[in-house]
Each structure stands twice: as C-alpha cells, then as structure tokens.
C-alpha cells in the first residue's frame, strides 16, 4: 500500500511541478525526495517507487506527444543521437533518465529516517 501510494504521489507531484517550466527541468528531484521522506520505506522500496513513478510518467508523456506526431520528430532525434532512428529506444531512454534520477533522490530520502 505504501509502495503504490508513494509511486502515485511521486508521479503526481513530479508532473505538477513540471508544469511550472520557469523552474529547472530537474525540479522533480525534490518531489521524489520529499515523498520518500514523508512515506518511509526500506531503501530499495523507496528507490523502486521513485524509479517507477517517473519512468512511467515520462514514458507516458513521451508517448502522448509522440503518437499524434506520428513519430516524426522522435525518429529524427533518434538519428541525431546514436540510436539508429529507433524511437522506441528513445522513449525508453527518456524514461530511464527520469526514473534513475527520481529513484536516486527517493533513495536519498529513505535514509533521512531510520
């Protein structure tokens, strides 16, 4: 239950803070941190929560932009970056980057309380 809540809360807060684009792109790191402090779990569970929350959030958001665009831009970017034009890999890497940062921030938060 704590796992699900912390995943949902992290995802929601990260999305919300990302709407204020005058703040830097990595502001969501504080959401993951604070949720992990507020909802205390074992470190690996905190990491998992943070990771899954933002991985899924970012992959979903990317797909939401990509699909109506018919993969036009993602294919081009997947050629600018060395991904052989594979937009699926690009979406995966997008999620991976967000998820890793968020997971590490949550992990950090899990060590605040014993």
């Amino acid at each position: 239950m704590k796992l699900i809540t912390s995943i949902l809360l992290t995802a929601l807060l990260s999305f919300a803070i990302g709407l204020y684009t005058t703040l830097p792109w990595f502001s969501f790191v504080f959401c993951s941190l604070i949720v992990a402090i507020a909802i205390h779990q074992k470190p690996w569970k905190s990491f998992l929560s943070g990771f899954v929350a933002v991985f899924v959030l970012w992959v979903l958001l990317a797909i939401l932009s990509d699909t109506p665009n018919e993969h036009l831009l993602s294919t081009k970017v997947a050629n600018i970056l060395p991904l052989g034009g594979n937009y699926v890999v690009l979406i995966f890497i997008t999620g991976l980057i967000g998820g890793l940062i968020s997971g590490m921030a949550a992990l950090t938060g899990s060590f605040v309380r014993k």
């Binding site: 990302g18 790191v29 109506p68 831009l73 890793l100 950090t108 060590f111």
Partner: protein, 818 residues
C-alpha cells in the same frame, strides 16, 4: 538519519543531475543537455507537433492598434488582413517569429559576426571576416537611412515589436528545437537585426568576385595569359538589353589613370592565402516576362526563380499581406518586413542578381604597423579605429581593432592575413557600406499600380543591384538593372588598386536614367539570368565577365523567341527545363578534337552515349553525367598542371573561356603539360587523355550505380546546422548549372513563381521547404517533393470576405488589442 548512506546517495543523485544538465563533449561539438533535452515536459518532445494540430487562436496582444485577422490555408500560408500598415507588419513579425524564429536569429548572428557566441571558437574566422568586411558597419549606416523614412521606420518598428511580442510570451517548453539542441535562448529583436539580415543578403548576392585571388592570377600567369584564361569579352553573350541598343553619351566622363600598364596591370602583387569567404558563385536567378502579344490569354505572364543555397528551414516564407493601401502576396524573408518577390492587384515583379562589381580592394601604405597614418595624395592621412568585440562561447572575448580609411575598413592587416603577407594592408570599398534604404523599394513595389510607380519604387534602390522585371495587368512589361553602380573605366576594380592616390577612386555612381532598361520591346518579352546587361558599346564597365554566367540567359531567350500563344503550363515547363545549351555548344568542339581510333570498348561505349545524348539534363540521363565528367576532366587536364605549380590561391577560369578558345585557337598554349618538359601536348592530346580518364571515372560510377544524372548530382536540402537527420537527401531532380532548372547539388531555385495578370490573377508558386521551421512539424519540408517533381501550388489570393467563407482556409488566428 543514516548519515553516510544519505550523503553518498545525495552525492550520486547530484552527480547524475549535473551530468545530465550540462553539454558533454562529443567529437568536435557538444551534446545537448541530455536531461533537459529528453524531458517530456521541457525538451524536444514538446516540439513534436500533432499531425492534426490546429493553428486557430484568439490572442489579446499589446502593440497593435486594431483587430488583425490571419487565415491559414492548408499549406499553412497565412493570409493577413489588417486595418493599417503597422498592424500588418507587426503581424508579419509575429508570424515569422512563430514559425521561423531560430532560423531568422541564426542567420542574423552569422551576419553580425556572432557565430562564435553560439558555437564557440571554431567559427572565429568566419566572424572576423564579416566584421572586417564591414557588415555591421554597413548595417548601422543603412539602418539610419531606413529609420529616417517614416514609412519604412513604421514598418521596421512594427515588425520588431511583432517579433518581440512572440519572443516575450514564449514559454520555455515551447522554445524552438534548435535552441534546445544548442542550449541557448533567443534574444530580443531589433531594427538593426533586420538591417543586418538585409546586408547579409547583400553579401550573398554582391560579395562575389574576389579581386585578391584575381590579382594573384594576373601576377602568376602574366597579363597576356591571364587575359586568355579570364577574357573580358564573352562571344556567346546574349545581353539582357538586346544588342543593337544605342546608349547616349555618358554623364560621367571617366578619367583613366596614367601609366596603368605599370601601375595597375603590370603590378606584381602576391596576396597570399588571405582568409576569404565567398558567397556561392551560383547565387543568381532567372526571371522573364512575356507580353500579351505572346500569350494565349492576351495578358502578360511573369516568372521568377531566385537561385540560392538549398537549406532548411527555407530562406523564403510565403504570405499574403492586405491593408487598405496594400494587397500583396509573395515570398518574404523571415528577418525583414514586406513582400520581396511577388504581386499585388495590379502588377507583378521579380528579381535576379545584377552581378555588377561594387566591391573593390585598395592597397594601403601605412606609416608603420600602428596603422595610424596612411599615405594618400602626397600627405599622411589619419585613420580612425572601429572596435568590434567578438564574444566566444566558453572563452574570453576577442577584440578586433579595425583601421578605417577613406576607402573603408582595412580588412586585411598584420593581424588578419596569412603570416607570409609581409607588411601588406588592404582596405575594402563596398557599396553595401553606404547608407541605403532597400526596404523602401519593396514597400513601394508591394503597392505599385503601374509601370510609372514601379520605376519610382526602384529608383532609390542601391545595393545589391538587381534586374527588376515587371509586368502589369494593363499590359506593360519592363526590366531594369537598378542599383547604385560605380562608373568604372574598363577593368577598374578587377584587381587590387593602389590606395595612395585619388586617380583610382570611384569616380561616381552611374545616374539612374543611364542604367540598362527595356520596356515593351517589339520581341514581346524581357528576361534576365545574370548575364551581362549590355554589350560592350555601353560606356561603363560592368565588372569582370566571370561574374556574369552566360548560358541560362542564352537558352531562355532562344526559347522565348520561338514561343507564341504561351500558357501558364508552358511557363512551368520552361522554368523546369533541363536543356544544357553549354553541352550543345561544347560537344561538337570536343568531338572534333577527340581521336577515336584507339579507344577501348568501355571508352567507345561512353562515347556513343555522349554522341546520342539529347543534351537534356533529365534525371535519368546518363549522357548528362558523361558530359559533366568529361568536361571537368578536360578543364583539369588543360589547366591543372599550371595551377599545381603554385601554392597561391587562384580563381578557376570559366568554361566559356576554354570553349571559346578551343573554337577559335587551334593552338592553345595551356594544352601543353608543363610537367612533361620533353613533350609539347596538343589540344587533341589533352582531349584524348581527358576522355580516357573520364571513362575510368564513369566506369567506377557505373559500378556504384551512380551514372544516372540525378543519382550522380545527388541533390540535397540541408538543415542550416548540416544535421543529416534534419535534412533531405537524394532528391529526384535534374537540371544543372547551364539549364533553366539550375538545380545543382545543394543550390538551385529557392522559390519558383509564375503569375499571369489576367482579371482573376492566376499565380503559382513552390519552394523546396515548408512554412513551419519546426523539424517536428509535418509542414517542415512539405513542399520539397512537389518542387523536385517540377510541380507547383496554385496560390490563393482573395479578399477577407472570401477568406472568411472559404473552405480552403483551415485555421483562423486573430489579434485584438489588449
């Protein structure tokens, strides 16, 4: 609190964020800030435009006086309806920014010599070149002229306000793609940037013809051989103003300097490897207008296709601008207001480059290396200094202190030149330095109602000189080579001139009424394709013939002369015509000299193809490739040996110099290969060697399946940053340097327009790009296939009431005063 694990994971988290927040080195350049770039709420994902995106919007905005309506048709061309001119130009600025912001900013950074700010010290040499050439200096002067005219000041102010209205409201996640990629932001637009952009076009169209390398060539070859390689007369010339036209006595009586043979022609200057940038030699265009006497409809038809580098985003942006005193449609430049090439209710106009030489170099004698005093007319004159500060990304500023003389900036001195250029200084006098208001001409052309107003509109036009073609609904056709052209004696300015006395100065600007002009000629058409505007009976010197390509004008006139009952379809076919008239001229000459008795089977095969070829550079023609490879081989084998003997930077001669020599002169001293001292090669020897070498090349191309002309030429349209992922390659299009369809590898017709001035104006246009500069938009390159296929779009040119009801208008953007 578990302190140690907390600190470690906090550090790792911070490290990750930092690594993904900075640009990492990658080969010669840098990656984007990866975390930012890939974030779906901030990065490139936000630029992925939905294919069913709507551009309908209703904005309350500051900076306009009343309501403006913009209707977009299905090609995303905006049709702007405003109650006053200022609001229209404001809207134009806003739309240019909305759809092409990165491109217009980037191009003005290049013009301003500020590329290093964006990409770092790799491009420092480019920036120094433009600063020292006086690009910014010229733009500042022109801006003063532009702002002193109320109409153009209003237009520029409104345009700038419109661009800035877009920029200030731009949310970070909506930054154009390239800003995110290169990690910078747009800065506010200014009137100076518009002036800089127009100056850059000035350079692109009049900055060619490098006097310094020609000076080297004269020294290296000696005057007589130089004149064989770079002759002053072109036999095949069909000038813009037909031969046989008489010219009045010149208003400026030119004083030719004394002792020119020793002081000018005979000088042995060597200008070693001075850093130089040249605009593409192919920058030029075609235009023509046919009178009602030659058309099926009885009304004139005008055609124009400017030839520029093929880039994405495209240099042109189509739009309609309608205000109470102006109802015009055409191609605009993101970066400047008004319509540049287009039409209105009553008339249509177009431009080709005049090619006239208005940039000259003078050697300066300084007292010493401080460059504070120079010798002129037997006295020491003082210089002033112009400071140009070049910011370099990631490095300290670079300061250029440019000495200013009465000629202009000292472009090449001991800090900007090859290290071997012992103590030489060259100042540049360029007409583009002078204050001028080119915008006024386009502003007036947009509103011109007849040939009198057309002449008035172009009368103030200075630089770069253009051949303005014109046609009106009432039936007039005209062409005028207009600009501030220097009154020159024969060959003045072809080489570096002495800067120590006034006898070599420019002696005046040719009065307007002496500029070449043709109106309603009996032959029923006017045309220009960058050839010389007049023959040698004209009392002023136009410039080195190498600036005036011969062949397109030649074939256009031949074809137009033979046509009658002309329709729009005929004109479309003509603009896309691939006939290679130079090949027609050269082939019999080459075959005359080619000894075929000892050719092998492969060589005979290519010879047969060459003989049977119909001289069309159509996309599948192998003959076109055979001719190009063969001719290039002839040039290299004829001249390459002489050129290989020197490290000097020399210009390469024109094909016309060679073919005309071969036609007249059966002993051509360049045929002799100077590397074979015991043998004196003849023309026939060289032609044979060239053909055999060409055959080898062709065999290789055949193996690679690149013999067909379009595959060999491999036309591409590249993104301004040369990123392959954002470019289009291998376009199926023929044509070439000598064809009316002047499409080469990455250069060609950047806009094609055909307008028939019937009561209901019939207009067609296409360009190799798209209206939206966003690579994430389906409108980024949507016109390219149509353009490559030689097809056109029907232009929609309607009143506001019609636009409101029209099914062809897909989206409606309104601006209301906030």
């Amino acid at each position: 609190m578990r302190v140690a694990p907390f600190i470690i994971s906090a550090l790792v988290t911070t490290g990750l964020v930092v690594a993904l927040n900075v640009q990492l080195p990658s080969g010669k350049s840098k990656t984007p800030r990866l975390g930012y770039f890939l974030s779906p709420q901030y990065g490139f994902w936000k630029n992925a435009e939905a294919s069913n995106a709507s551009f309908t919007d209703h904005k309350k905005i500051q900076g306009i006086k009343s309501k403006v309506d913009v209707f977009f048709d299905e090609r995303l061309v905006p049709h702007v309806y405003a109650d006053n001119n200022a609001d229209a130009y404001f809207t134009q600025g806003y739309l240019h920014a909305k759809f092409r912001l990165w491109q217009m900013e980037f191009q003005t950074y290049v013009a301003a010599g500020r590329l290093s700010e964006i990409v770092g010290e790799d491009r420092l040499a480019t920036d120094k070149y433009f600063r020292r050439l006086g690009m910014v200096y010229g733009a500042e002067n022109s801006l003063k002229a532009t702002e002193s005219d109320p109409a153009t000041k209003e237009a520029c102010d409104a345009y700038t306000a419109g661009v800035n209205a877009y920029i200030t409201a731009l949310q970070p996640e909506n930054l154009p793609f390239e800003y995110k990629l290169l990690n910078y932001k747009p800065e506010p637009w200014t009137n100076l940037k518009t002036a800089l952009f127009l100056k850059f076009m000035s350079w692109d169209l009049s900055g060619q013809g490098d006097d310094l390398t020609y000076t080297n060539a004269k020294t290296y070859f000696g005057y007589d051989d130089f004149m064989k390689l770079f002759p002053v007369v072109q036999d095949s010339l069909d000038p813009i103003v037909s031969r046989g036209t008489t010219f009045g006595a010149p208003n400026i009586a030119l004083k030719v300097p004394q002792k020119m043979d020793s002081l000018y022609f005979g000088r042995k200057d060597i200008v070693e490897n001075t850093p130089t940038l040249n605009p593409d030699k192919g920058n030029g265009s075609n235009n023509w207008a046919v009178a009602g006497s030659k058309t099926k409809s009885g009304k004139p038809i005008l055609c124009n296709d400017p030839h520029l580098g093929l880039n994405l985003p495209a240099i042109w942006y189509e739009m309609q601008i309608t205000t109470p005193d102006c109802n015009t449609y055409g191609a605009t430049f993101p970066g400047a207001p008004a319509v540049i090439i287009g039409f209105n209710d009553s008339c249509v106009w177009g431009v080709t480059n005049s090619g006239r030489d208005v940039k000259d170099f003078y050697e300066i004698q300084f007292k010493d290396s401080t460059m504070q005093q120079y010798w002129f007319d037997s006295a020491w004159k003082n210089t002033t200094f112009r400071k140009e500060i070049i910011k370099v990304k990631g490095k300290p500023d670079v300061v250029e202190n440019i000495a200013m003389t009465l000629f202009g900036p000292v472009m090449y001195d001991n800090k900007f030149a090859a290290k071997d250029n012992a103590g030489k200084y060259y100042a540049v006098r360029w007409k583009a330095h002078d204050a001028s208001n080119e915008l006024k001409t386009f502003y007036k052309l947009n509103r011109a109602k007849n040939v009198v107003e057309y002449n008035d509109a172009i009368s103030t036009y200075q630089c770069p000189g253009q051949n303005f073609v014109f046609a009106s609904h009432s039936g007039d056709i005209a062409i005028k080579q207009q600009g501030a052209f220097v009154a020159k004696w024969k060959q003045q300015g072809d080489f570096v001139m002495p800067g120590t006395d006034s006898t070599y100065l420019w002696q005046g600007i040719i009065p307007q009424n002496e500029n070449p002009y043709m109106i309603n000629p009996i032959r029923g058409f006017v045309s220009s394709a960058n050839q010389q505007s007049v023959d040698s009976t004209y009392p002023y010197y136009l410039g080195r013939p190498n600036n005036f390509p011969l062949y397109r004008g030649f074939i256009i006139n031949r074809k137009l002369n033979a046509m009658s009952g002309i329709t729009v379809e005929d004109m479309q076919k003509l603009q896309a015509d691939n006939y290679n008239v130079f090949a027609e001229i050269a082939r019999p000459v080459l075959l005359k000299y080619l000894v075929t008795s000892n050719l092998n089977i492969g060589e005979k095969k290519y010879l047969e193809i060459f003989k049977q070829w119909n001289c069309n550079n159509d996309l599948k023609e192998i003959g076109a490739t055979v001719f190009k490879v063969f001719w290039d081989s002839v040039e290299v084998n004829m001249w390459g040996d002489e050129y290989a003997q020197t490290k000097l930077t020399l210009p390469w001669p024109d094909e016309s110099a060679l073919i005309e020599s071969l036609m007249k002169d059966s002993t051509y001293n360049f045929a002799d290969d100077v590397r074979t001292p015991n043998k004196k090669e003849t023309i026939a020897d060289i032609i044979l060697i060239s053909f055999q070498k060409a055959a080898k090349q062709l065999a290789t191309l055949e193996k690679e399946n690149k013999l067909e002309w379009a595959l060999y030429k491999d036309t591409k349209v590249e993104h301004l940053l040369k990123l392959p992922a954002l470019s289009r390659f291998h376009l199926p299009i023929g044509g070439g340097k000598y064809s009316i369809n002047a499409t080469k590898q990455n250069h060609g017709p950047s806009w094609r327009m055909i307008v028939q001035m019937t009561d209901n104006i019939e207009a067609y246009g296409v360009y190799p790009g798209g209206q939206n500069g966003n690579p994430g938009s389906k409108f980024y390159d949507s016109f390219i296939d149509t353009w490559a296929a030689g097809k056109y779009y029907r232009i929609i040119f309607i009143k506001k009431e019609a636009a409101q009801k029209s099914e062809q208008m897909k989206w409606h953007l309104t601006f209301e005063k906030a």
